[in-house]
């Protein structure tokens, strides 16, 4: 059974005045995927593509406007109170900016103990003991438990944020750009740590990133999003070796590389505003192979081998 399953998830936000109409913006539209225990699914796309909204949905911080989200095959929508609290033990989150996500006025011990306190686990002394043990696991020293966040570097803070997410022994960790605020050498340390912890605890990751080199390294499967919709999804190997959607292709070609590549076709323009998405295929305004058909009708996801592609002109 899948650990996490999304079925046609849709998330709309209402913006503007609620009294005088206001508008709705669709942040996530018809996204479906499954995530098996112990696996990593990466979500990639440019800013505004809905990847962070998807993370908030998966983390049960937002309720989808439509669609279903199942954890261990059981629906999550409509659960509240104790039911929701126990679901939250299964799913934890690591945020992008370790400078903003740790309370500067609390010691590391109380930051790590807080999830346990919320769920009423252990006595205060036991919680500090658990925090010490977890510091060990993430490569920090146990005696640092009484320190404050400002005494740590960015990489160390991200280790603390990861430790906090693991305190409740979740089976799924949602990581929203966990390494993009870090230097390259530190980034490699954190990625290694995340992979080690995955093996040790049997964690599944929903890994949100804009960095395709990182995704290629850490993930087993990938979801490429554009303006709230999935344009291509499948195993990492097949998407990287044979991208079929023009957007995926241009993302891959935009990847800077230390091996100098020759010419790359660059993508024109910028992502359109989610407030006024283009008609038909949302990508047609920037697509090199768009035709009239693309402006009229929206392509549905079709399967090609082990991948799903939403393009009228995708070829097997």
């Amino acid at each position: 059974m899948s650990l996490l399953e999304a079925r046609a998830l849709r998330l709309q936000y209402r913006i503007g005045s609620q009294v005088f109409g206001g508008r709705t913006v669709t942040a996530v539209d018809g996204v479906s995927f499954t995530l098996e225990p112990g696996m990593t699914l990466a979500v990639v796309g440019e800013s505004g593509c809905g990847k962070s909204s998807l993370a908030r949905l998966a983390c049960l911080l937002e309720t989808p406007t439509e669609g279903e989200l199942l954890i261990d095959g059981a629906p999550t929508i409509g659960t509240s109170g104790k039911g929701l609290l126990s679901l939250r033990r299964t799913v934890q989150m690591v945020f992008q900016n370790p400078y903003g996500s740790l309370n500067p006025r609390k010691t590391i011990g109380s930051i790590l103990g807080e999830p346990l306190a919320i769920h009423g686990i252990g006595s205060k002394a036991e919680r500090i003991g658990a925090a010490r043990a977890m510091l060990d696991k993430v490569g920090l020293r146990q005696d640092q438990v009484d320190r404050y966040p400002h005494m740590f570097s960015g990489g160390q803070r991200q280790r603390i944020a990861i430790a906090r997410a693991l305190m409740l022994r979740p089976r799924l960790v949602i990581a929203d750009e966990p390494v993009s605020a870090l230097d390259v050498s530190v980034q490699a340390q954190i990625l290694n740590l995340m992979m080690d912890l995955q093996d040790e605890f049997g964690l599944a990751y929903l890994f949100i990133s804009h960095d395709l080199a990182v995704v290629r390294h850490i993930a087993a499967s990938i979801l490429v999003m554009y303006l709230g919709r999935v344009v291509e999804q499948g195993p990492v190997a097949s998407i990287f070796n044979r991208p079929r959607h023009p957007y995926t292709k241009s993302l891959l070609q935009s990847m800077p590389s230390a091996h100098r590549s020759g010419s790359a076709t660059r993508l024109r323009g910028e992502p359109p505003s989610p407030l006024a998405p283009p008609s038909g295929c949302a990508f047609h305004t920037r697509c090199p192979i768009a035709t009239e058909l693309c402006a009229k009708s929206r392509p549905e996801l079709r399967s090609f081998g082990d991948a799903l592609v939403a393009c009228h002109f995708a070829e097997a």
């Binding site: 960015g154 490699a188 660059r266």
Partner: protein, 314 residues
């Protein structure tokens, strides 16, 4: 050139003995992690470092002008006109209270004798050059109405408004998406080529450097640890730090585990003795801890190391 900050715990040296020349039409990349002094050294060159920090140099020259001898008024005539700089966060470097047309016009007003009408035409022309669609209608836009990529284009338009011969770009694409990053890099390289401008590109991203720079300086804890032609550097790095930075890129990974550099960049107050990289280096011997190595090497590739890497280590 060195930059020293006066702090409560005494003077701290953020940049130490950096030598850099930029020729017309050349792209020099400066790469390093946070805290390596790459931004501070270029801000010092622009004269943007204010007391209590102190900039010292044996020579600091821009063309024929001795930057150490000129007064503030003369420098102000130079900065923004002959030498210009763009910063990492475009949305934070633009003034949110004024339209982009006004902000670009301000640069022109300060440095060029142009009438209102001529200035407006020039701003439109500049916006067109940096690839902003429908420039006439964008003149009245405020920074918050534009995307990050568009704001960075506005910053570039402002920087090239007076045809500078030197442009310093400090992490110009770090805050942007990959597809926009590529557009901005191509724009910068295109402008640099058309105007035979000198371009200094500061970044922490090795792959950005690999794709654009002619010559590269690698900085670590305030010092230049290696410099070479870009091709050489990526093919055969000599300093272990350069090698380790390249190996840490996920695209270089051979197995599941990524290569890492143990430890962190030393802070300004806790720099080790001898070679600054010795606590994190795999090749450290007693001499590395006792004495600081000098930049040595042949055929335009110099490294500050007693035990440099040889051959095709990456």
């Amino acid at each position: 050139m060195s930059v020293t900050f006066a702090t409560q715990r005494g003077p701290m040296r953020a940049v130490e003995g950096v030598d850099l020349t930029v020729n017309p039409g050349e792209i020099v990349g400066i790469v390093g992690e946070s805290g390596s002094g790459k931004s501070v050294s270029m801000m010092a060159a622009m004269g943007l470092i204010a007391p209590p920090a102190r900039v010292t140099a044996d020579i600091m020259r821009f063309g024929d002008i001795d930057l150490l001898a000129i007064d503030r008024r003369q420098r102000r005539r130079l900065v923004g006109k002959e030498m210009a700089m763009i910063f990492q966060e475009p949305t934070a470097s633009l003034n949110p209270c004024f339209t982009i047309g006004w902000q670009i016009g301000e640069t022109l007003k300060l440095h060029e004798r142009l009438g209102r009408r001529a200035r407006r035409d020039r701003v439109i022309e500049l916006l067109r050059q940096v690839g902003i669609p429908a420039p006439e209608t964008r003149l009245g836009a405020y920074p918050h109405q534009l995307s990050g990529g568009m704001n960075q284009r506005v910053m570039i338009a402002m920087a090239i408004a007076c045809n500078p011969s030197l442009l310093i770009a400090d992490e110009p694409t770090t805050a942007l998406d990959v597809t926009i990053q590529r557009q901005i890099l191509e724009l910068l390289v295109g402008l640099q080529r058309d105007r035979t401008m000198g371009l200094v590109l500061i970044t922490h991203d090795m792959s950005v450097i690999a794709e654009t720079a002619h010559r590269v300086q690698v900085m670590y804890a305030g010092q230049v640890v290696e410099q070479a032609q870009a091709d050489r550097l990526f093919e055969a790095p000599r300093h272990p730090y350069t090698g380790a930075l390249l190996a840490a890129l996920p695209e270089q990974a051979t197995g599941r585990r990524l290569a890492t550099i143990p430890g962190i960049v030393p802070g300004i107050a806790d720099r080790p003795t001898g070679c600054l990289f010795n606590p994190r280096c795999g090749r450290t011997t007693p001499i590395c801890i006792q004495e600081q190595p000098l930049l040595t090497g042949a055929s335009g590739q110099t490294a500050r190391c007693y035990h440099p890497l040889d051959g095709r280590a990456s």
